[in-house]
């Protein structure tokens, strides 16, 4: 059942949210002004915040690995695994993802330098920055350009033509969730284009070597060296590290998929987004993203990607500022009549699962 583009469009064609070009310009100017205001205000508070998070991450990491060595006491295994999971989640989300967006480049701190930072996951920062910061953030939810739509594995949009392969949509999604770090690492290989013959393996040789080096390093650390150091505790340490990696995978998959795929989030076509003005670009980012509601701890653990809308408007503003910014963005959206998609995790993720299930069928 082919659908026409107009059914899903936001920015330009949908009469329901139609804003005049003047209104969009005004909206864009307001957001630009908001952005400048926050950038001017960046200072000690932001540096202290991220250093506190860094300290917490290291604390959880050292404590987690330490407790796993004491796994002969069963509660130590559980506490160690939880602690290490928290460390990996903080490292990947509130620290890694955000630092690599350049949110802290202004500090001039080499530890927070987006060009140098490497994170505790299989995907090499270099490749990830290209597929995420550039392709996904610039071409957010443009079917055919934003490869985060389905990661080349899933059918996440009616615009992707159906194929019997997609009967396994839910299964693939579960696998992707469990081994998300490898899914993200492979993202840059564009396997789907290799399968279709568009590109060859040789074209991606450099990316592959990069990925392989990083995957190997991560695996040696978690699955060989730390278990070996633990001597008789080796199996317990192996299991703890494995569980922590999976826990991180599942959590980050959930948060990330809730950012763009819950019910009501819009998709766009390439034609619609040609020659966008700044106002239109902001507008598309809002229609193409969804937020999650929750407490302060929840926002930290999601790397503040729970404020996906604000993150897409201002990807290089330190993420812990999004909660404050959201108040103003919401108010502006209400004034301009722009929908603002937000809800609790269970509701948003539920609707993502429903969508994955529905799209497994034609």
């Amino acid at each position: 059942m082919p659908k026409t583009a107009t059914k899903h469009t936001g920015a330009v064609a949908d009469p329901e949210f139609q804003l005049t070009p003047e209104q969009l310009d005004l909206f864009g100017e307001e957001l630009d002004a908001l952005r400048e205001r926050v950038l001017d205000d960046l200072g000690q508070r932001d540096s202290d915040y991220i250093h506190n998070i860094l300290n917490a991450q290291r604390g959880f990491e050292v404590a987690g690995r330490g407790m796993l060595f004491l796994s002969f006491i069963p509660p130590a295994w559980i506490a160690g695994t939880i602690s290490l999971s928290i460390s990996k989640i903080l490292d990947n989300m509130e620290i890694g993802h955000n630092v690599m967006h350049g949110q802290y480049d202004w500090t001039q701190d080499p530890r927070l330098d987006s060009t140098q930072f490497e994170w505790d996951t299989s995907s090499p920062s270099e490749n990830w920055k290209d597929s995420h910061n550039y392709q996904h953030h610039t071409h957010t939810n443009i079917v055919g350009k934003d490869r985060d739509i389905g990661y080349g594995i899933l059918r996440m949009s009616e615009e992707q033509p159906w194929h019997p392969y997609y009967l396994g949509n839910l299964l693939y999604a579960t696998l992707l969730m469990t081994f998300f770090e490898y899914g993200v690492a492979m993202h840059d290989l564009e396997v789907e284009r290799m399968v279709s013959g568009e590109i060859s393996f040789a074209d991606k040789r450099k990316e592959f070597d990069n990925i392989w080096t990083k995957v190997r390093r991560q695996a040696i650390k978690d699955y060989v060296l730390f278990p070996l150091l633990a001597g008789p505790m080796a199996p317990a340490v192996f299991a703890g590290n494995f569980t922590a990696n999976i826990a991180r995978n599942v959590w980050s998959f959930m948060i990330i998929f809730c950012g763009h795929f819950p019910e009501g989030v819009e998709e766009f076509t390439e034609e619609e987004t040609e020659n966008e003005t700044r106002g239109q670009w902001y507008y598309r980012q809002i229609l193409g993203s969804a937020n999650l509601t929750g407490g302060k701890l929840f926002h930290i653990m999601s790397g503040n990607l729970s404020h996906q809308i604000e993150h897409h408007l201002f990807p290089d503003i330190p993420a812990h500022r999004y909660a404050e910014i959201a108040v103003e963005v919401r108010e502006a959206c209400a004034r301009f009549g722009i929908p603002y998609n937000t809800g609790p995790l269970h509701k948003q993720f539920g609707s993502v699962v429903k969508k994955i299930a529905r799209l497994s069928l034609p």
């Binding site: 630009d32 400048e36 960046l42 200072g43 000690q44 508070r45 932001d46 540096s47 202290d48 860094l54 300290n55 290291r58 050292v62 690599m100 967006h101 350049g102 480049d105 202004w106 500090t107 001039q108 701190d109 530890r111 330098d113 987006s114 060009t115 490497e118 994170w119 505790d120 920055k129 290209d130 910061n133 550039y134 392709q135 953030h137 610039t138 990083k214 390093r217 991560q218 040696i220 650390k221 060296l225 730390f226 150091l229 990807p315 290089d316």
Partner: protein, 372 residues
């Protein structure tokens, strides 16, 4: 075998070396991947680093109302300095790491590193240090550099001239010479605004009394009926045979300029060595395109045409990494070694000194050197 045991022995006898060897090992690197060792050691010892030079402030003295003298204890990566050289000092101010250069004032062989920093109105680092420096504070350091140094065969006759906070490099020379037991004539001429501003006054007096070959003169530029500056008459009265002396001058531009003119007129410029200190202020505010863009790594320079750095690099046939070309993705960030840029959208003008910048949305204003 024997040497192996000896090496092991010396390692065990030196816990520092052992720790160092351990922290440098491949095993530790593989265990901590992808993070550098510093990220963990820093929790216990913020001064330790595998490669970076860092130092702890161990003593703070405020000699004059406008200055602060710090004694630093650098970590083992510090390679020392030659008297007259300068080092970059990095501190965090409002969340940003900011670096300024200062000349150590102590003798080269001395223990610790002594810096005297004079407060410049609006000078971020100097005000920050003058206000809050306290023992225990950790600062970043860069290796010492600079050509303003004494030859290793010490000259037979030396004239050291300084103005204001420019005293530090020549003070270091003087202290080094005294420590070496140098016994040939040295004239030390210092210009300070008022007696309250005279840094190292007491020590200079004591040195002058203790060393017969040393002649210390301090001139107060704001005392008396008319301001005192460097003239041929002053020089002649203080150091009659100054033409024969190897001369080192450090101070404000006016002092350095005056010295250069005098020595040039005497056709004696070879004997003169100068180190002006320019205040690190944004030099260009005009938004028009002048100067040239130097791409350091590729060894290419183009005339600045006012477009974004990215476009200018591409027109110079370079292909810098980039993504969105609209300031969102940070793929294009590059290090600017020195220069001023204007943000193409907001018009914000910033002077950069070894800092990262998004080249797709920043255009150079005047000369710029970029690591591309």
């Amino acid at each position: 075998m024997g040497t192996g045991i000896m090496a092991l022995d010396s390692l065990l006898n030196s816990p520092r070396k052992l720790t160092r060897g351990l922290l440098d090992s491949h095993l530790v690197e593989s265990l901590l991947t992808p993070n550098p060792v510093e990220r963990y050691v820093g929790m216990i010892d913020p001064v330790w680093s595998r490669r970076d030079v860092r130092a702890k402030v161990v003593a703070v003295e405020r000699q004059t109302p406008r200055s602060v003298t710090l004694t630093l204890e650098p970590n083992s990566n510090w390679n020392g300095f030659e008297p007259g050289q300068h080092v970059g000092v990095t501190v965090e101010i409002d969340g940003r790491l900011t670096t300024r250069f200062y000349s150590p004032a102590g003798a080269a062989a001395g223990k610790g590193l002594e810096l005297t920093i004079t407060r410049h109105p609006g000078g971020k680092v100097s005000e920050h240090l003058a206000d809050i420096a306290a023992p225990g504070m950790v600062v970043g350091l860069s290796p010492a550099e600079g050509e303003f140094t004494l030859p290793s065969t010490r000259p037979d006759h030396l004239l050291l001239i300084s103005g204001g906070s420019g005293i530090t490099p020549v003070m270091s020379m003087l202290r080094t010479l005294c420590a070496e037991g140098h016994d040939r004539p040295v004239t030390f001429l210092h210009f300070a605004r008022t007696p309250q501003d005279a840094i190292y006054a007491r020590e200079l007096q004591a040195l002058g009394e203790a060393h017969a070959n040393l002649n210390v003169v301090t001139v107060f530029t704001r005392e008396g009926t008319k301001p005192q500056h460097l003239t041929r008459a002053t020089l002649k009265s203080i150091c009659p045979d100054y033409l024969a002396a190897e001369t080192y001058v450090c101070g404000p531009n006016a002092l350095v300029d005056a010295a250069e003119k005098l020595w040039k007129r005497d056709r004696n410029a070879d004997r003169l060595h100068t180190e002006p200190f320019t205040l690190p202020e944004p030099t260009v505010v005009a938004a028009d395109a002048t100067g040239s863009v130097t791409f350091k790594r590729s060894g290419i320079a183009v005339e600045n045409d006012g477009q974004s750095l990215l476009l200018q690099a591409e027109q110079g046939n370079l292909s810098p990494r980039h993504g969105c070309r609209m300031g969102i993705c940070h793929t294009c960030v590059c290090r600017v070694e020195s220069g001023t840029v204007r943000h193409v959208r907001t018009g914000e003008v910033k002077t950069l000194n070894n800092e990262l910048v998004q080249i797709c949305v920043n255009a150079p204003v005047g000369d710029i050197e970029i690591d591309l």
